[in-house]
Symmetry: C2
Subunit: 380 residues, 2 copies
């Protein structure tokens, strides 16, 4: 199952076996362009999160369209993308283990030697000390962002006043460059109303400004504030405090983001990521397709169905059960193709070794690209 | 990330990087022995579901301990395990696409040529016809089980009287051998009380008996009834109608099965599958470990925590947030190891390329085996 399905190149969509992860390359290209233009127009840097697609070719495509680099969450993701030629990578997450920080240090030196850059987030004095220890001597070997909890209640220092001691610790180590603040409010991405997202972002902005003031009062600065996801980036971009957007899902757009009320201040994006599935069992009131949650992640809800009046009523490892929206709606037939729109892009892509890129639409198009998920399973 | 972590062999548990999927080999061996003894004592065949571990070495270990073969859900899973030397495989699921049935046919011939056997489930006349077409001429090339919906509302013919026409269709094709009935009630596995599971199984048994009577009245027979999972197999084993148990999770046991009230008629099993994780962020009231739902599936609930008074309060792609059970309970320190017990074995294993087998316990033991997840991502 690990061989590239290159026999599909040039074939029609009908030739794609099920279940398979399929990219609508035309929709993806439009999403790419809209986001690049948006960031440029608003004068903010775009550093898309590559934890979403885990694919070196797509990271390089985003950078060619204007992104300054990419984010990842894991050291091994950074290594996989760097091996594929991506030169500017931010591990927007904490790494604590000294042996793993040795790998971070080696990657930072390697990227710098080829004109690139590695950055990382910290949220503890021990994290700073372990990182400095791993980097050793040298100047400005790695960019360090201090993560502040801005309402998600996950990682990050708890309060704006906790930022200053870390900023001072970073400034004390020549190998570390104090690059700014990591301020990501993940849960705000999925608040359904524009008003709720706006309210959450007011908290984010207030906390960021407070941290900035405390640090600058002490004679240090946080040059860049980085954060934002596909649900709220318009709010961060217009905040006046964020200089960099980390949104990743905009490229593929999942079913869960489509459940948000649209924000007229943000460009809208199309679904570009699909699971091609096949009806494998038919009953009087439901059908079952051959793709379950080993094909598409359900942590953010069940998939929706493209171009058919059907909804998912259940999902198990290898099956999704679909029912009609109304009593008089027809069911698809045994063997028919059903296109699922995954609830959540990031963990869905991570289930697959390959993405099949289709040009010319899902109904009449042809396979143009087979994209490797380079960092699939890169957990460490 | 795809290289085998063989450098770990002989190392202490402390050397395992996080997050990683770790097997307690001693606990697994006890689970293996208890289940084999149970099936033998009750005079039923054991055909464990290999969709759970997707590992040829573990399938062969189960067969060496008395299992007659294994089940899988997907053609590509069957191919992966056959390539690793597993000779008796049942695809306990429907396959509809003619091109995929060609692969099923090739595998059936190949296994038969080496003294093994392939079996498959059907639930439609089209499925039988497509299968017969793919098999072509020859006698008894594949065992065919008719799937009957016994209460799960997923695949399978809807009513016991729907079994007979399929039995007749199978009997009409020399290449197909009518092997019996597939009667799996997946949702019954997770009913919390023994009484609820017992009630669900009464429905299963009544429907199976009805199908058997209708088929035998027509002069045909369903030689074997196969089904059962780790939550209910004691009920199927003592039913008098089931001849084969498909339970798979017993080998690893996940957190969700531990939420069932124990059934005194079944042997109890130990947790043998863990995620080794590390505390990467500490706050006043919670800690965050470096393993999220890209490391452990959460479709059946959040993981539990081994040997610590902590519970998971949230989980995202790469993070799990843990809180103490009570206000005075201590939190682990930054960098400390935390062992998570995944909510659901099957999709958890499918996230990983390797399982690290530890002998001598998770605290003091050593790495004895690195097991490849041969059929990881084998979706088709």
């Amino acid at each position: 199952m690990n061989a590239a399905p290159e026999h599909l190149l040039g074939q029609s969509v009908a030739a794609i076996d099920t279940p398979a992860l399929v990219l609508d390359l035309d929709a993806m290209a439009r999403n790419l362009t809209h986001m690049a233009a948006y960031a440029q127009h608003h004068g903010v840097r775009l550093r898309p999160h590559a934890k979403m697609h885990k694919c070196g070719a797509l990271a390089k495509m985003q950078m060619a369209a204007g992104a300054v680099g990419v984010c990842v969450q894991k050291t091994s993701e950074a290594e996989a993308l760097a091996a594929d030629g991506v030169s500017d990578i931010y591990i927007s997450n904490e790494v604590i283990a000294p042996h793993k920080l040795q790998r971070v240090a080696a990657l930072a030196r390697s990227l710098q030697a080829r004109g690139g850059r590695l950055a990382i987030a910290v949220d503890s004095a021990i994290g700073v000390a372990n990182l400095a220890q791993a980097l050793g001597k040298g100047v400005d070997l790695i960019d360090v962002f201090i993560e502040l909890d801005v309402g998600q209640g996950r990682c990050g220092v708890a309060e704006p006043e906790d930022v200053l001691p870390l900023a001072q610790a970073i400034a004390a180590h020549p190998a570390l460059r104090l690059a700014g603040l990591q301020a990501y409010q993940g849960s705000a991405q999925h608040l359904r109303t524009v008003a709720a997202r706006h309210a959450a972002l007011q908290v984010v902005i207030a906390r960021v400004q407070q941290a900035q003031q405390l640090v600058s009062s002490a004679g240090l600065s946080l040059p860049l504030v980085t954060g934002a996801g596909s649900g709220t980036f318009g709010l961060e971009a217009s905040s006046g405090v964020f200089g960099e957007l980390q949104a990743g899902s905009y490229l593929f757009m999942d079913a869960d983001y489509a459940r948000n009320d649209p924000d007229p201040s943000q460009p809208s994006f199309e679904h570009a990521l699909f699971i091609k599935s096949q009806v494998m069992s038919v009953s009087a009131a439901h059908v079952v397709v051959d793709a379950g949650h080993k094909s598409h992640a359900i942590d953010s809800g069940l998939p929706t169905v493209r171009s058919m009046s059907l909804h998912a009523s259940g999902c198990s490892d290898e099956h999704t059960t679909l029912r009609p929206h109304g009593p008089d709606q027809p069911l698809p037939e045994l063997g028919q193709t059903v296109w699922l729109i995954p609830g959540h892009c990031d963990p869905t892509v991570n289930l697959h070794n390959w993405m099949i890129g289709v040009r010319g639409g899902l109904d009449q198009g042809q396979v143009e690209q087979v994209l490797r998920v380079d960092a699939r399973g890169a957990l460490q």
